[in-house]
């Protein structure tokens, strides 16, 4: 017992030493994302975008606020998708490293586990996460520190709402939902099953265990129900297999996605009839038209020395890339780097023109322009750019 106290004390002393030894004009950005492990995909991509932006800004000599020049320090920690790790890491970021700006998490179970602790620092930190469950808390009293960096599905600006309306317009009567049985899938059930009902579309939902790779059985089951569209979960690692196995036997050929990417559709473009998907940005097209996007793609290639993941990038990498810049802009606007509350006020009142046009609604949930891509048999693509008011 005594000994443990000694250890605590000594470790603590070290920690303090670290904190005080830090240079003055560095703004620390902490990041808690799953970069490894089974659910790494979202966190991994977002940590890539953040690192890239931070590198660019520092290479450009940092930024100046109130006549003082600051550089960014990114401390990206890998939660491995484990709430336990994340909660320890968040404490480290806030107390030991003294980071005031936290990016992430994208995983809802991680968010829910670290929320109570983060809330203790309400007003002293700013947390930017993409997790779906943040939606339940953002803008509620005691959670002023919280902002959600992702469009919400439902509501007037909701991309899901809009896409389902479109389906209804096309006279769709039956849709089969096939979600992975986890937090994300459950949230989507809560959003979409109700939504389809409202729009008079008959929906049936099947869950599969995460880790499943062979969907033949459940697909056969669904096919026997003869739906107009199949609406598979949200992670590409499953959607690739679902789309392949559904089309290979010609059981189901029309797909509708609000998460995931265009990749699976393109891969099976000859076997399917239609593939409607929400992508924050259709990069293959944007790269040709938009110089900003061109620059970003090039920067990514140079920085990571690997080919650009067109299908995954839109998921979050680049929106995190934008967020770093947006945060810097907000700091300039607020004229301070160490008053998260002021920085948040600035963020709420601004619109940032990066790869996206980013702004936050009055709750602190992000609203940005996105694309809905409709892929037809053989690869004909029709992109629909949507710019929420």
């Amino acid at each position: 017992m005594k000994r443990t106290d000694v250890i605590v004390a000594s470790l603590l002393a070290v920690a303090l030493a670290v904190v005080s030894a830090e240079a003055q004009n560095v703004v620390k950005i902490g990041q808690v994302e799953a970069q490894t492990g089974a659910n790494a995909i979202y966190g991994w991509m977002s940590s890539q975008g953040t690192a890239l932006a931070v590198d660019e800004i520092n290479k450009a000599g940092g930024f100046s606020v109130g006549g003082k020049t600051y550089t960014l320090q990114l401390i990206a920690l890998d939660t491995r998708g484990e709430p336990k790790e994340a909660s320890v890491q968040l404490k480290r970021l806030i107390e030991v490293d003294g980071a005031k700006y936290i990016f992430g998490p994208f995983l809802s179970n991680v968010f829910l586990a670290i929320r109570p602790y983060a809330a203790e620092f309400n007003g002293k930190i700013l947390m930017w996460g993409g997790a779906t469950r943040i939606h339940d808390y953002v803008g509620t009293p005691g959670h002023e520190f919280l902002m959600r960096t992702w469009n919400w599905d439902a509501g007037p600006n909701g991309f899901g709402e809009l896409m389902v309306d479109d389906l209804a317009k096309h006279g769709v009567k039956k849709i089969a939902l096939l979600y992975q049985n986890d937090q994300g899938g459950k949230v989507m059930e809560d959003i979409y099953v109700a939504m389809f009902k409202r729009k008079g579309i008959e929906a049936r939902l099947d869950y599969f265990e995460p880790g499943t790779k062979d969907f033949s059985t459940v697909l056969a089951k669904i096919a026997a129900w003869k739906p107009d569209y199949l609406f598979p979960g949200y992670a590409d690692s499953y959607i690739y297999d679902i789309v392949r196995q559904a089309t290979e036997t010609g059981q189901l050929t029309k797909f509708f996605l609000v998460r995931g990417s265009l990749g699976p559709g393109l891969k099976n473009k000859d076997a399917l009839d239609e593939y409607v998907v929400y992508v924050p940005k259709y990069f293959e097209e944007a790269e040709k038209k938009d110089p900003k996007v061109q620059k970003f793609v090039k920067a990514y290639r140079d920085f990571y020395k690997r080919d650009f993941p067109y299908d995954q990038a839109p998921l979050c990498s680049s929106s995190c890339y934008d967020h770093v810049y947006m945060l810097v802009e907000a700091m300039k606007k607020a004229g301070t780097v160490d008053d998260p509350a002021a920085v948040k006020r600035a963020l709420m009142s601004m619109t940032y023109e990066g790869l996206w046009r980013l702004r936050f609604d009055d709750k602190g949930e992000e609203v940005f322009n996105f694309d809905v891509v409709r892929l037809k048999k053989g690869g004909a693509i029709e992109v629909n750019h949507i710019n929420p008011k």
């Binding site: 970069q35 089974a38 991994w44 599969f208 265990e209 499943t212 062979d214 033949s216 290979e248 891969k267």
Partner: protein, 286 residues
């Protein structure tokens, strides 16, 4: 409805054969070295990514790529045996811990190189075969055939070769076998090479059916263990049957019952069978 069931029985058997090939590796390793190579799934993963690299990056035709991929996995297995498993022989749990460590190492290494974005090979043999209302993907049928042949050959070979006699003798009675001049070290090495090679082959075949991610092996090693026990540790054909039965149960089970419980159906049957035949379906009671 009938065609639905028939189709799923076939499909279940195919999927199950995939469990079977891992189960075979587990049965061999456990029988001879007394360790459960929990990392076998990782060698499967290595085989899968190696196939992808050789076929997509190296430009080899898939059938050609499969062989070196399996070999790569086997070599990895050989190294791990020489470096680690050699020291945990006969110690189930320490071997298990080494496996846990290896999983962390391999998956992170692959993640480092390939990133977390799911990757998928070009389709080797697209399209499906129609038999009445039942339609099965051609590639799946091919994979099934390959696995059945491999396991059958293993069975035949083990009956008639030095490795076979040695391993049977060893499995019966270690000391006696050693006295009879069975070179334990050589035997164990051979078994490790073979089981990891099998896993690699399994991975290579997997790569032609599903998209790849670093954690793909985890599910299969669990199913493989279930299948091995279901069939009876030490029984070669038993491992194939165990896998097939498991696959069919999961498939048929999830036709009539919620898909969300898919894994539970297999487990329930496994437990039930163990209670009546503690040594598994094809294991020898004693």
């Amino acid at each position: 409805m009938l065609s639905l069931v028939a189709g799923q029985v076939l499909n279940g058997a195919i999927v199950g054969s995939m469990y079977g090939i891992i189960a075979l590796g587990i049965t061999l390793t456990f029988g001879i070295t007394g360790i459960v190579n929990f990392a076998l799934g990782e060698f499967m993963m290595i085989g899968a990514y190696a196939t992808f690299a050789l076929a997509e990056r190296g430009g080899l035709p898939y059938p050609v790529a499969v062989v070196p991929a399996a070999l790569i996995a086997a070599v990895a297995g050989y190294v791990c045996n020489k470096a680690f498993f050699r020291f945990t022989r006969g110690n189930l749990v320490n071997g298990l811990l080494v496996s846990i460590g290896l999983i962390s190492v391999f998956e992170s290494a692959v993640l480092w190189y390939w990133s977390a974005t799911p990757i998928e090979m070009h389709y080797v043999l697209p399209g499906a075969l129609r038999l009445g209302d039942v339609s099965l993907p051609k590639m799946k049928l091919l994979v099934f055939a390959v696995i059945v042949v491999v396991i059958a050959l293993t069975y035949v070979a083990l009956a008639g070769t030095w490795l076979g006699r040695a391993s049977f003798a060893y499995a019966q009675n270690a000391e006696a076998a050693t006295l009879m001049g069975v070179h334990t070290e050589r035997l164990v090495t051979a078994v490790m090479l073979y089981s990891t090679g099998l896993a690699g082959l399994g991975g290579a075949l997997y790569a032609s059916l599903y998209s790849l991610e670093p954690s793909l092996g985890g599910v299969y090693v669990l199913k493989g263990m279930e299948a091995a026990i279901l069939g009876g540790i030490g029984s070669l054909m038993g491992s194939l049957w165990g896998g097939v039965i498991l696959g069919v149960i999961e498939a048929v089970g999830s036709i009539f019952l919620p898909t969300a419980f898919r894994d539970a159906y297999g487990l329930a049957v496994l437990v039930a069978i163990l209670l009546f035949r503690p040594a598994g379906l094809f294991g020898d009671e004693s």
